[in-house]
């Protein structure tokens, strides 16, 4: 109750007002437009119920994009957290230049995604750095057109994304590791645990809150991926790397506004459901500790 006296609730009003007018209302109006026939050819907008959603299911392109988005999200979430955790463990141990390395690994996530896109498209060129390096190692048989080959393009993009955001994940894990009471680590050392056992049974369980937030953030971030795909392949070749947001972008370019909005609502629902399930599962894990 003391808290309420110090900060009256109405102080929230300005923020809620800005939030409401700039985010909530446009989003809710998005829900409304998805049940209309709004498009570039129409003078007036009419209510058509779930027609747009029916068309989305009939055409099936959204499902294809959704599939790519899911694959992408799983790869990115797993790799980004794996790599981020490894980096965090290494950079909280006593090694020389620790702070310097932390800065270096964090740096990519402050760069513009478009710039990362251009850098990686140079790396992925058929005669780019990556293939040259593989040839230098004598691994010619692995070389491919990393963005032009429809079978690997989606994975190439996810690697670029992982490279960019692993540092961010790392930063959260480092904070989590530093929060772990020293006594617990020392106790396990006295008990004669090996390094890996210590990580597995002491550090990792105590990192659960960091793990939850990292998984949720990378999951949501990769489900609504747009820029990096747009910069690297624009969804091509063909529709091999088409994700939901590039699909929506294409629909808007064609002037099919309500249709694109309906696709956006589908994405929103998918993200909401997946995030809530993930949050529920991960939270439960935290509680059990």
């Amino acid at each position: 109750m003391h808290i309420r006296k110090m900060y009256p609730l109405w102080l929230l009003l300005p923020v809620l007002l800005i939030y409401g007018s700039l985010y909530i209302i446009p989003t809710l109006s998005g829900f409304y437009y998805s049940v209309t026939d709004w498009n570039i050819y129409k003078e007036s907008i009419q209510f058509v119920g779930l027609q747009q959603y029916r068309d989305l299911l009939d055409v099936g392109d959204l499902m294809n994009a959704m599939k790519h988005t899911m694959i992408y999200a799983i790869i990115v979430t797993v790799l980004q957290n794996g790599l981020g955790l490894c980096l965090a463990l290494v950079l909280t141990s006593r090694i020389v230049g620790r702070n310097w390395f932390r800065t270096i690994f964090f740096l990519p996530c402050v760069l513009s995604t478009l710039i990362i896109g251009y850098v990686f498209s140079a790396i992925y060129q058929p005669d780019g750095i990556l293939n040259e390096f593989l040839r230098f190692l004598g691994l010619d048989f692995i070389t491919t057109d990393w963005l032009g080959n429809a079978d690997v393009a989606l994975y190439s993009i996810s690697v670029a994304n992982v490279w960019q955001y692993s540092g961010f994940t790392m930063a959260i894990y480092i904070a989590g590791i530093l929060m772990i009471p020293k006594e617990m680590i020392e106790a396990s050392i006295i008990d004669g645990s090996s390094y890996f056992k210590r990580v597995r049974h002491v550090v990792f369980p105590l990192l659960a809150p960091s793990f939850t937030i990292n998984v949720i953030l990378s999951l949501i971030g990769s489900l609504k991926v747009f820029e990096i795909v747009f910069a690297l392949t624009s969804g091509g070749p063909g529709d091999a790397t088409e994700v939901v947001n590039t699909y929506i972008f294409d629909q808007f370019s064609e002037g099919m506004y309500a249709y694109g909005t309906a696709a956006n609502v589908c994405l929103f629902i998918a993200i909401a459901v997946i995030s809530f399930i993930a949050l529920y599962v991960l939270r439960k894990r935290e509680v059990q500790l």
Binding site: P126, D145, K224, E227, G238, D250, F252
Partner: protein
């Protein structure tokens, strides 16, 4: 109390989610990098203008909007300067580089319109501008009689009314080829598809890439079909009518399927560059100019860019060979439109009339070196364009078919990438294009769907 808290928490969590997901969609729209370059005349020119030409009315500033690529294609800054001196008005030339179409449509929707707009000229594009409401009709303007009738027949109009004047040449599609490579190997220009394959085989044997395909950019892949369809339109004059009224679907046109198959066969037979999906338009011009590749399927709009970089490149053009006497495709020219809702409608119309004056047209075409969209303009042509001019003059030319459909066929380039990548067959590509048309036609409420 507890319950209230929970409701608050749920509400806030909901808001957070909404915000997090909503931002993703917004990023696309906010990336409109509108490089708006103001190219008003230099101050000296203005000073001269006020001294020499005594303007009749109060001078106004006309906002003229165009795409950056078009601004590069002709001496627009000088032409506008000329207009400023003559009329006393000022011109604010707004040049947009990315997301041009979306930006224009957004500006129209928010009524933040320029006075004169340079835009595409197909009926389907004009339809998007909602011409009845937004554009000044130009059907009865005296200068309209000087526009090439082919252009007014196929382009510039919507619903039987003409709204724009052509502001670029007619671009013709075909095969750009390196004459030196052909001469060195003793090859003649192929007339039929089989001859084309034979020529490609010989070029390949000599260690030169026969065709360079810009698979990454995607759009150049469309030109093959544009040229091919021109032959089809000649043989079946009512074909477009049938497509536009849904009497025939694209996958039911065997000639169209055959066309797509012929296109992908060139790749399947190994006559195209390796790593096709890394190929870009710019690279295709480099490869062609330096003789590393012998042929590029595209249109003569590539010539000014290519010759600017390689002035002595021996580049010619021939019609895309399907059979003896093959047709070439003609692209839609860009066009200028006057906006109805602009406060300076009279001056905007005046500017269009100025752009249609023969001396100004001559000034443009002397620099652009493309086939004029206007009658009675003699202008120098680049070599490749000159190669195809006799064919156009003989009437063996028809417009790109994607400009003749009443609604868009969607992202043709993307479908062709799927075809080249082996993900779709020719029939599946045709079906996908038809599906795109169906969606748009239903949205527009067209008869027949």
């Amino acid at each position: 109390m507890q319950r209230k808290k929970r409701v608050w928490f749920a509400l806030l969590a909901m808001m957070l989610l909404v915000v997090m997901t909503a931002c993703g969609g917004k990023a696309a729209e906010s990336s409109e990098s509108t490089a708006t370059a103001s190219a008003t005349a230099s101050e000296t020119a203005q000073a001269q203008a006020s001294e020499t030409a005594a303007p009749k009315k109060d001078p106004v500033t006309l906002k003229v909007m165009m795409h950056a690529d078009w601004a590069k294609g002709g001496p627009w800054a000088e032409i506008m300067k000329g207009y400023e001196q003559k009329s006393g008005n000022k011109v604010d030339l707004q040049i947009v580089s990315d997301n041009f179409e979306q930006l224009v449509l957004t500006k129209l929707a928010t009524k933040d319109v320029p006075d004169v707009l340079f835009f595409f000229s197909q009926s389907s594009a004009i339809k998007k501008l909602n011409p009845e409401k937004n554009l000044v009709e130009l059907t009865d303007e005296p200068y309209m009689s000087r526009v090439n009738p082919t252009i007014t027949k196929y382009y510039l109009n919507e619903g039987g009314k003409i709204y724009g004047i052509p502001t670029s040449g007619m671009n013709v599609s075909g095969v750009l080829y390196n004459k030196k490579v052909f001469a060195d190997l003793g090859l003649a220009v192929p007339q039929t598809y089989d001859e084309l394959l034979a020529v490609s085989e010989k070029i390949k044997a000599a260690g030169i890439t026969p065709f360079y395909e810009a698979g990454k950019d995607g759009w150049p892949l469309q030109v093959f079909s544009f040229s091919g369809f021109a032959n089809l339109l000649d043989k079946q004059p009512d074909l477009m009518e049938k497509i536009n009224t849904h009497q025939v679907t694209l996958d039911q046109i065997p000639e169209f399927i055959d066309l797509l198959q012929k296109q992908v066969d060139i790749v399947n037979k190994g006559y195209a560059n390796k790593n096709l999906f890394s190929g870009t338009y710019d690279l295709s011009l480099d490869e062609l100019a330096t003789g590393k590749s012998a042929m590029v399927v595209n249109a003569d709009w590539a010539l000014p860019t290519l010759l600017a970089k390689y002035p002595d490149a021996p580049i010619g053009m021939f019609p895309q060979p399907f059979e003896a006497g093959s047709f070439v495709g003609i692209s839609d020219p860009q066009a200028a439109y006057a906006l109805k809702n602009s406060p300076n409608v009279e001056q905007a119309k005046e500017l269009l009339a100025y752009l249609a004056e023969p001396e100004i047209l001559k000034q443009y075409y002397d620099a652009a070196k493309t086939m004029p969209s206007w009658l009675g303009i003699e202008a120098p042509l680049n070599q490749g364009t000159a190669d195809l001019k006799p064919i156009v003059d003989a009437g063996k030319a028809a417009p790109f078919f994607n400009g003749l459909t009443t609604v868009s066929i969607g992202d043709f380039a993307k479908e062709l990438q799927s075809l080249y990548g082996g993900d779709k067959t020719a029939v599946e590509v045709a079906k996908a294009l038809q599906k795109n048309m169906d969606t748009a036609a239903k949205a527009a409420g067209l008869a027949g769907w």
